[in-house]
């Protein structure tokens, strides 16, 4: 079977929805700008690209009409590149990577552009027309459970005190602020509309400042806005291709995809999704947690991230070296591509061998990817 590699990664700055610097930027324009720059930086000939796969959690409005095809036009990709929009909520653009990897291995293409986008300003979470199935809602209300409630459920189930969640959030901001101050995001961020700096990071976050916040979802709960990822505008993209193609064209290979997995779980504790999907991916990779050198674990909520860390037996020092979604932001469809690209780049930067990339998904799912150094 062909080896599949990540041969490039770029993203827009991430900014808070509704008030950040990207509120006025259309999501299709934002993604196109990221893709144009990714193509430029990697030097890939887009005539060789089989497909543009764009992940998006709410593909309607400005993100609708098979936005992947339209982004392809906006990004001046060669007309022979196809375009498909995929939706696995928060896991959408990691799913895009998986689909590309699968296609390459069945010889259905050599190179794929995998992107993800969400303007949570311009297309609200739940979309413009939430129309749940009344029958399903009656029979299984948790099918429509709110994300905040799932975080509370996990916090309760795993007895994760509020202070622990807040300590985790403080650490995320500290790492992200440090990385930002040291200019470590510069290589990955593509300026969009003149915006080249992340906007969600709060370097002054302290345990005390978080302790003063009111619960965000349940008056009697422990989860606050400070221990949740913010609503975010942003886009990310990676170049996925066969190792042979990358080498032949001299593309800057970051990492090889070793294994992938998805899994389901109960929707009311969707934050636990990474546990099973990671275990499956590790097994397929023939590795154990002890073999993993670094982890990109999406921080939808601190409670959920801590529960996954506990059950998977992960080493906190290896997780989210440059901060996670609580600090950086979580533009739903874009996060998968960001953390796959980030983990691949980190393997190279840190000189490590194996990375686990995983995230939870609304509706009760997990998705995971194991990367290895080339």
């Amino acid at each position: 079977m062909k080896n599949v590699v990540i041969a490039g990664y770029a993203r827009s700055a991430f900014h808070p929805a509704g008030k950040g610097a990207l509120t006025k930027v259309r999501p299709d324009d934002m993604t196109a700008q990221v893709l144009r720059t990714l193509v430029e930086r990697t030097g890939v000939d887009t005539a060789d690209v089989e497909d543009l796969i764009v992940g998006c959690a709410f593909p309607e409005g400005e993100q609708g009409l098979n936005v992947a095809r339209l982004i392809g036009f906006l990004a001046d990709l060669s007309l022979n590149v196809a375009g498909v929009t995929v939706n696995r909520f928060c896991g959408s653009s990691m799913q895009a990577v998986h689909q590309a990897a699968g296609a390459i291995q069945m010889d259905a293409g050599e190179a794929f552009l995998c992107a993800g986008v969400e303007s949570m300003t311009r297309v609200p979470i739940m979309g413009f027309n939430p129309l749940p199935n009344p029958g399903l809602y009656k029979a299984m209300p948790q099918a429509y459970v709110s994300m905040g409630d799932t975080a509370e459920n996990v916090a309760r189930k795993y007895q994760i005190p509020r202070a622990d969640q807040e300590a985790f959030a403080v650490e995320s901001h500290r790492k992200a602020a440090k990385a930002q101050a040291e200019g470590r995001f510069e290589a990955e961020i593509v300026p969009v509309g003149g915006v080249a700096q992340d906007g969600c990071i709060r370097p002054d976050t302290t345990a005390e400042s978080l302790a003063g916040l009111k619960p965000a979802f349940d008056a009697a709960g422990t989860v606050t806005a400070g221990t949740s990822s913010p609503l975010t505008d942003g886009a990310a993209a990676v170049l996925v291709c066969s190792e042979d193609y990358a080498k032949a064209r001299g593309l800057p290979v970051l990492a090889r995809i070793r294994s992938v997995a998805v899994s389901g779980c109960s929707p009311d504790v969707m934050g636990l999704g990474p546990i099973l999907s990671s275990q499956k991916a590790l097994k397929r990779a023939g590795l154990s947690v002890a073999d993993i050198d670094l982890v990109e674990l999406n921080e939808a909520f601190a409670a959920q991230a801590l529960a996954c860390i506990r059950d998977l037996g992960l080493d906190q020092d290896k997780i989210n070296l440059d901060g996670g979604a609580i600090a950086l932001g979580h533009p739903l469809g874009a996060t998968g591509a960001r953390i796959v690209g980030k983990a691949a780049a980190l393997l190279k930067r840190e000189g490590k061998q194996f990375a686990l990339v995983t995230q939870c998904i609304g509706g009760g799912q997990g998705i995971a990817t194991v990367l290895e150094a080339v």
């Binding site: 409005g61 739940m126 413009f128 027309n129 939430p130 129309l131 749940p132 199935n133 009344p134 809602y137 429509y144 709110s146 905040g148 409630d149 619960p215 965000a216 979802f217 349940d218 008056a219």
Partner: protein, 776 residues
Amino acid sequence: MTAIQKVAVIGAGVMGAGIAAHVANAGIPVVLLDIVPEGAAYRNVVAETAVQKMLKADPAPFMHKRNAKLIQTGNIEDHLDLLADCDWIVEAVIERLDVKQSLYRKLEAVRKAGSVVSSNTSTIPLEMLTGGLSDAFKRDFCITHFFNPPRYMRLLELVTSPQTRPEAAQAVTAFCDHRLGKSVVVCKDRPGFIANRLGILWLLAGVTEARRLGLTVEEADAVIGRPFGIPKTGVFALIDLVGLDLMPHVLGSMVKALPETDAFHQIDRDLSLVEKMIAEGYTGRKGKGGFYRINKAGGGKVKEAIDLQTGDYRPTQKAQLESLDAAKAGGAAALLAHADKGGRYARAVMARTLAYAAALVPEAADEVAAVDEAMRLGYNWKQGPFELIDKIGTERFVQVLKTEGIPVPALLETAAGRPFYRIDGATREQLGPDGQYHAMRRPDGVVMLEDVKRTVKPLVKTASASLWDIGDGVACLEFTAKMNALDPEVLKGIAKSIPVVQSGFKALVIYNEGSNFSVGANLGLALFAANIAAWSQIEELVEKGQEVYKALKYAPFPVVAAPSGMALGGGCEIVLHADAVQAHAETYIGLVETGVGLIPGWGGCKEMLARWQANPKAPKGPMPTVGKAFETISVATVAKSAAEAMDHGFLRPTDGITMNRYRLLADAKARALAMAESYQPPQPATFRLPGETGRVALEMAVKGFRKLGKATPHDEVVAGKLAYVLSGGDAADVTVELTEDDVLALEREAFNDLVRHPDTLARVEHMLVTGKPLRN
């Protein structure tokens, strides 16, 4: 006369910033400058901070947050060039002559020829302000004295000098009247002008006489408040509101400037208690408290009042005086005649104050109407001092003065028992210092219903509504019940009016001159019916209301609603059914039914759906319309201005806003006549609503609020019914077209269910008893 198109305000204190905000409310760009504080890194910090603070202030100085963008902030060291294209420059800096004059000298160099400069001074005479300045400056200069807060206080005192160009005064007057909505009262260049000169004497007398006569602050406020048509804050609570520290300052400057013969010199000015309070930080509501305070010691919240004799605080006590009981029946006259300490206090304070008012004409004002207007709008008195004297009777009032040993002013001698106002035919006249009556004329473009009502009889009259002929083929429907509450008599009045308008008029305006357009349905009647289980009566009322509002909407003549003040619940619904709205800028409109556990039942749900559905900016699909209407109604949203009402969909973008309350009826009438030209009744809306799936989506959202503690158990019940109506009920589906009548039927069903719910009745009762919503 050139219209004012750009304004500058110098001085970003409370008044200057507030004036700038209000100019922005008028849609006019305004430059706001202040000093550069020593060592400031950011040189515009004072003006900029003032704007940011105003965006968070409550009551809001801005009618809409976007108005803040019309203010360009800067500082007087770097940005005086910004004044070059300003037509009017308002100075609102510290009350120091040297500071003001040095600023004026700088202005002379930068302002454009013919621009008007005015000062917002409250204490410095105009003559002193312009002393030593150029003739050109003097020609363009006047005093424009705003009241605090500038957005809400409708009084503007204008002082000109003999040198002031008439066109300059006219330009400022026209701008303040039409654009800022102010009533411009012309004052002479005398200390304190009119309102504060009289107001400060009144407050001073109120404080010192209460102490002398041994009244508690509660008793004093009860005597001086309601019986005289003065806000219930009376004397002491008003001083707490404006700030105790202001008093000695203004008083000092007044005493210094006024001649020995002035009443200010005769009155007891011992403010030692006030000075002690100020020194201890009791400067009023902005400080630790004032004559009243909230004592939070021990975790409690006890309202306390100061003992005027000892200076110690104690819990408040309700005022109980025989004279107050007498006033309930006999009004101010009975109070003034009473022998107890309440009567003595009323005489000592009000007789002195009203006499002083008479002494101000013609010294500080040319006419009595100016003094009355100043006190009505500057101090929120229902009646001005001369109107009060008329009510008491001039002859009787002179008697009171004589027994109190207060000198009788010349104007009262001139009146010689005659009233200060009289009606001659259709004309209202006022008594001048020359002893003659002079006709009072409204400014051009002002039509007042109270004038119309003096001259003609109503075309239709029920216990709660009247229909008037306001000329030019336009009729005016007026609500007349207490608070303009809506009841079966209003509905009867509307139903009777429709054929009358149809047969004899071109258009209808719905308007009244109460403080509020309408506070909504009469809840007392509804609760009474519910208590005796007269459900059919309530059902009938709901149905009748729907029928009448619908008849208004589809009548063959245009209907223009002209609300001012509160337009709530059923009052909002009637506005929603009008073909067009001409709203006073200070209109507070909203569908507040959920607050008492109900939903809008007179077509409010239907109209809000129709509004949002017609909004071209709303996203497509069945939910955005339903969601927007739900968001607005479920939390009983009340717009805090007419401009905000457009955001919420209560007003259409095409509806008009009138800044000056006095011009509202004329503007509404003009709008109605313009529409009458080629009027066609609207086509009924149809709806494609999501049905159960939409209801489930809304219920899910409400559950989230409930979990968060933001929604109560009964909120969830009421929101569920509202979701049922707005999503179109069980029969709805995106493939099915619903009519207005279908939605009206859903409103009735949900309303009638809710009104039987004990938790709803508990809310209604609580609202009637306490005036506040019950969160059950």
